[in-house]
């Protein structure tokens, strides 16, 4: 196991506690899930010409692979939070429209 372990600590106003990211004990590679070219391009037979080189079997090589895992963890976590925020906003907008129509009797299609 590598002796150089990267770590990240995230905090946001809606979180009671900070979220800590560490790569963990799994297999780490420089081929990140969230840093590849898009699935659409891959499925169309596209090739990632900027694909990173494989990690060397050195402490810094392992660090680079573990940092890729950490990057994936952060990207996936924050993307999920962005989705949740978007859903919350959509629900809020729907509730606002419903309230305006039902409580104020406003017709959205009425241009007058």
């Amino acid at each position: 196991m590598s002796s150089l372990i990267p770590k990240a600590t995230y905090s946001a106003p809606d979180l009671d506690e900070s979220k800590i990211f560490t790569p963990g004990d799994g297999i780490h590679t420089t081929d990140g899930q969230t840093t590849q070219i898009s699935d659409i391009v891959i499925n169309a037979g596209g090739e990632d010409r900027d694909k990173p080189t494989e990690a060397k079997d050195t402490p810094l090589g392992h660090l680079r692979a573990e940092l890729t895992t950490l990057q994936d963890q952060i990207n996936i976590f924050l993307t999920e939070r962005m989705k949740q925020e978007k859903n919350k906003q959509s629900e809020q907008e729907e509730a606002d429209i419903e309230r305006r129509i039902l409580d104020d009797g406003v017709d959205e299609d009425d241009s007058d």
Binding site: P6, K7, A8, Y10, S11, A12, P13, L63, M82, E85
Partner: protein, 93 residues
């Protein structure tokens, strides 16, 4: 920078083999300008053998982009150090 307007924060700690390598990493990243300082701030420093990157941003979307870009740059720095550090005789003579 007013931290109230940038409520989302992330601290990234990357240990290197030596303090010198951490200083090189911080010095390499520092000149890169922040394109939207009203939306995100990034501070780089070294503490012994660790590179510490402190991000503050206006939203999750902005902090995600900033962190992922900086990690990409750090990976390149690590690869360069791994390839060249201590090998001056091998490559430059």
């Amino acid at each position: 920078m007013d931290s109230i307007t940038l409520p989302y924060s992330l601290q990234l700690e990357v240990p290197f083999e030596t303090a010198k390598q951490a200083i090189i990493a911080a010095s390499t990243l520092s000149p890169d300008p922040i394109l939207k300082p009203n939306e995100v701030s990034v501070n780089y420093k070294s503490d012994e053998n660790k590179l510490i990157c402190q991000f503050q941003a206006v939203s999750d979307r902005v902090i995600r982009v900033a962190v992922s870009n900086v990690i990409e740059n750090i990976k390149t720095i690590i690869e360069c150090i791994d390839e060249f550090d201590g090998k001056e005789d091998q490559y430059f003579n």
